[in-house]
Amino acid sequence: MVEIDEQALAKRAKSGDVEAFTKLVEVYERVIFNLALRMTNDREDARDIAQVVFVKAYEHLGSFDPRYKFFSWLYRIHRGRCRRHEELDPGLLSDGSDPDETARAVIRTEAIETSLMRLSVDYRTVIILRHFLELNQAEMAHILEVPEKTVKSRLHTARQIMAGLLEQRGIGRA
């Protein structure tokens, strides 16, 4: 990724510089799309969510504080959009389903992606931020507005659950 002065771009965008906002879209479109993709497991939904995130960001640029990271702000907009998506598709979040059915689902489809989708939103989120977007725990804590120890705890639990789901498929342990 090209190094950019994100704060300067964000300030310019906030003052009405559309080119600066375009540059921010270029920088973050892949990240926001992948966030949405891993939360929904559906490319079309992810594309729609990503589009809405950027349009909402543009609409509300006035409320962005350039002292903070643009991504953190985008993430919060994204989170709001995903919540709406989840409300429309409550099955996405169900984590009390039959374990046998869960195991069969894992076998039927790509194991790791299916396992990810079986996690609750909080656990899935930390996995995505850490493993796909490669944020460190301090960055994750800032974005999620929770203590670092909470991030660490969620991350460890999420990985443990995923290991268990992979094990059900016969992957991971000898």
């Binding site: 559309v18 799309f33 589009q51 349009v55 790791i112 991971g172």
Partner: protein, 265 residues
């Protein structure tokens, strides 16, 4: 080592942040416990598989879609400056040297005249503006405003690219349609002279390919059958022909395409 410590240190080790002393303690624990080794390997498998998933590319139509939505929003919010806003935003999607050209064209002073010229073609009527912004990236003239001036067909290994040019009141529209089973991997370059300036480009459908647009040429990589439509604004009534090149399957063919009174070869 108790279970809680083991899980914490195992995660830190795989995250690459374990302290040396704890790493050594983990190593000893793993050497002693078959169960711990199995758990550690299961956890490592999660890391490996997550790493293998990786990030996917954003859909190629995401950025243009955002552009369209924002342009529409600006049009409603600031009707007086909508032409400039459209130019600024679409210009921002292109490469820096084109952005410079568009910035110049939409600048103060000559910018006012330039915008007036472009607006006549691109956002001159409510009908054109509405239809274009709802479905495509680049505005287009209505057929009545267009005058066909040139057509060329280029072929390589089952790939056929038909290109035609049309004059409008203040510019040229180049349309290139690729077809054939071998369309995948076709690269087309259209070079234009100094009197023409690219204003907008759209792919139909957006998934048909990718493009790079510069101040004097556009390069299109077609990944399937589809069309690429480039709008060029002209500053002169006498224009040089467009130079087309199709590259595919390790070969290339070239042709010239007239834009006004010049002859195609």
């Amino acid at each position: 080592m108790n279970r809680e410590n083991f899980e914490r240190i195992a995660n830190e080790e795989l995250d690459g942040v374990a302290a040396p002393a704890e790493r050594e303690a983990l190593r000893r624990h793993l050497a002693e416990s078959t169960s711990a080794r199995e758990q550690f390997e299961a956890l490592r498998e999660v890391f490996v598989r997550l790493k293998n998933v990786g990030l996917e590319e954003a859909p190629p139509d995401l950025k243009p879609s955002v552009a369209r939505a924002i342009v529409a929003q600006r049009r409603e919010a600031v009707p007086v400056s909508r032409s400039a806003g459209w130019m600024e935003f679409v210009g921002g999607l292109f490469r820096p040297n084109l952005r410079s050209a568009l910035t110049f064209a939409s600048g103060v002073g000559v910018g006012a005249a330039a915008i007036a010229i472009v607006a006549g073609n691109l956002v001159g009527s409510n009908h054109a503006m509405t239809s274009d912004l709802s479905g495509t990236m680049a505005p287009r003239s209505t057929p009545a405003e267009e005058r066909p001036v040139g057509v060329q067909t280029l072929q390589i290994s089952g790939i056929t690219v038909t290109a035609d040019t049309r004059r409008t009141s203040d510019g040229v529209i180049l349309r290139m349609v690729a077809s054939g089973n071998g369309a995948s991997g076709a690269n087309i370059t259209a070079a234009f002279g100094g009197a023409l300036h690219p204003v907008a480009l759209r792919m139909e459908p957006p998934s048909a390919g990718e493009f790079e647009i510069d101040t004097d040429r556009v390069r299109v990589t077609l990944s399937g059958e589809g069309a690429c439509v480039l709008s060029l604004r002209s500053e002169s009534a006498h224009l040089a022909p467009l130079e087309l090149e199709l590259r595919a399957a390790g070969r290339s063919v070239r042709a010239e395409l007239k834009t006004d009174s010049s002859e195609s070869r």
